[in-house]
Symmetry: C2
Subunit: 353 residues, 2 copies
């Protein structure tokens, strides 16, 4: 029987009776609609306060078609980058009156697509998706029907934009890191995180990597480009172990890892092999995670501005939700910076604090 659990919820009707006005007038007050005299407004607000009225989101949603709920879909919350992102998106969203539902896709393409199409489209107003497997082509038929913002993964190759995108300039970021390694005198620079097939991010970082090698007059040795499935610690560990199996002369003297977790795994492999970082092999990653900062040695990393990324994403989504009809798709670039730490230049830096 009626689910209000143990306490009876206060409704517009209760407030209306208390204030001696109609239900609709109370509704007008709580929604800040115009056409309400100051006298009634204060009277109603008083009643609202006394009774502790809270609008019923379900009824609202049913009537208006808006739930105030958006989802953030990420591959995995265990990845610090996504956890931090979730944190920022939550802040941004609540400052705009949205509530965020965090979903894990586990890198499953079907799951990603399901989220992108709005799950219970009737539950969500929109989705911010960090795609891993799903491609622009898969999303093309979807984006027009449901407010969707993609994080990263713009498919430069196809040139086709099928949704709003927020990303950092991955090519530039990779170029900067690699140039940094080259400037330190490394000549056999490797990369961990190649995954041409599936991940656009990976492709872009590889491209920046190759550009920088070229600009530094170095040649790209495919043996030094390690493929991985996910950007996690175990893959970093395995990839670095593989690189260390190369003949001594062919081994890398520096490695650019496409994520901090990969770098952490790679660092662990070097530790187990008894090699020094950066003495024997220099190491750099991407993400600006706390884990990389506190590693021993601290790991050089590209730090994307997650606050800006989140703000842009929520902005985009809010605009799309608020819009009546289709809007042109936007691609917004968030800033990043290269943070040089012990794992590349070897300079001891006590952490502040």
């Amino acid at each position: 029987m009626m689910g209000g659990r143990f306490m009876a919820a206060v409704t517009l009707k209760d407030v209306a009776e208390r204030a001696g006005v109609s239900i609709k007038t109370v509704s007008n007050v709580v929604r800040n609609a115009p056409r309400v005299s100051d006298a009634t407004r204060t009277r109603v607000l008083a009643a609202v306060g006394e009774l502790g009225y809270r609008p019923n989101p379900s009824a609202r949603r049913l009537r208006t078609g808006r739930s105030g709920l958006i989802a953030l879909a990420v591959p995995d919350l265990g990845t610090p980058y996504f956890a931090e992102l979730a944190h920022h998106v939550g802040r941004e969203a609540s400052s705009r009156g949205f509530t965020v539902l965090i979903e894990e896709t586990r890198g499953d393409a079907r799951e990603e697509l399901r989220l992108a199409t709005g799950v219970g489209a009737s539950l969500l107003d929109g989705v911010i998706l960090s795609p891993l497997r799903v491609s622009s082509a898969d999303l093309a038929p979807v984006a027009d029907e449901f407010p969707l913002v993609l994080l990263g993964e713009r498919d430069y190759g196809s040139g086709q934009v099928v949704a709003d995108h927020v990303l950092i300039d991955n090519v530039a970021a990779a170029r900067e890191v690699t140039a940094h390694l080259a400037a330190l005198g490394h000549t056999r620079i490797g990369a961990i995180g190649v995954d041409e097939q599936r991940s656009a991010t990976s492709r872009q970082r590889l491209e920046g990597f190759q550009q920088a090698l070229h600009e530094a007059g170095l040649t790209y040795d495919p043996r030094l480009a390690a493929r991985v499935g996910e950007f996690d610690r175990p893959n970093g560990l395995a990839a670095m172990r593989t690189l260390l199996e190369l003949p001594t002369a062919a081994r890398p003297d520096a490695v650019f890892c496409f994520s901090d977790l990969l770098a952490v795994g790679a660092r662990r492999a070097l530790y187990e092999a008894g090699l020094d970082v950066p003495g024997d092999v220099a190491l750099a990653g991407v993400d600006g995670s706390g884990e990389a900062l506190y590693a021993t040695p601290s790991l050089t990393s590209v730090v994307p501005d997650k606050a800006v990324i989140s703000a842009l994403a929520v902005d985009c989504l809010a605009a799309r939700i608020g819009a009546e009809g289709p809007l042109p798709y936007e691609v917004r670039i968030a800033p990043h910076r290269l943070e040089v730490r012990e794992s590349t230049d070897g300079v001891r830096r006590p952490l502040p604090g």
Copy 2:
């Protein structure tokens, strides 16, 4: 107008027309209610499939008072422990038909209380709260009115149970770690993470720590018990630096950190001081995070079974949501195990994989 965005949602009515039955019958079918003949059932299900009908959660909620939405409120998603927990809770919940809303309390007592009382009680069916600041006393008036499960933090001191609790045996866990350190021959064992005022978890771990010291015939030196605000990396770093400022003879030769992040911070401080782990100082933490496993050296840690914790928590909550009236409060203990790694016994262990 009408918010269905761009596409028109399929409703029971549409399905009913298609199947040539009444709305209510369709409703009965989709809810798996009894009293539906197999013939009609299959006919209706066919129509459901063809039209791609999805029930409207808001309408359901409005009618039944249930939203199928539960919240997991944790202090901070950036903490790997909570991120992992969120992952498991999400799995457990969706297997029971719930959707999880993840909220960050940022360790703010008011925010915790707000969540515990159900925010928009009309939005959520229940809450799983990992409290940091809020006490049993604060929650006492709340728990009866709204389904609530607390993770950890059972206030043994007051002896008063005001809600369902799911936790590991913190006292035993701390005792095991400390006994392990003592068994290795350490005599000046320190602790990082003391916070008697606010955190019950911290109190329990301190108690287990002291018990083990006593059992090993060691005396408790308050100078070796470092206080912290949050269980994060910067606090671990700062605390260990403070311990290292003690006169040489008074310095710890082993430290039990109340979280893995504290241990990571402590390890960093030792690294900066040029000290060896575990040669100069042995280090152990709690949480079983991947970060501790991949650290160099890998950090010994108490690994709580997060899958079990999550399952128990969701079970409890589901029972409470399903119940008609008040239920007796339960306290459930999840298992943990001590994982000995390089940071205490010094034995090199290549990671598997």
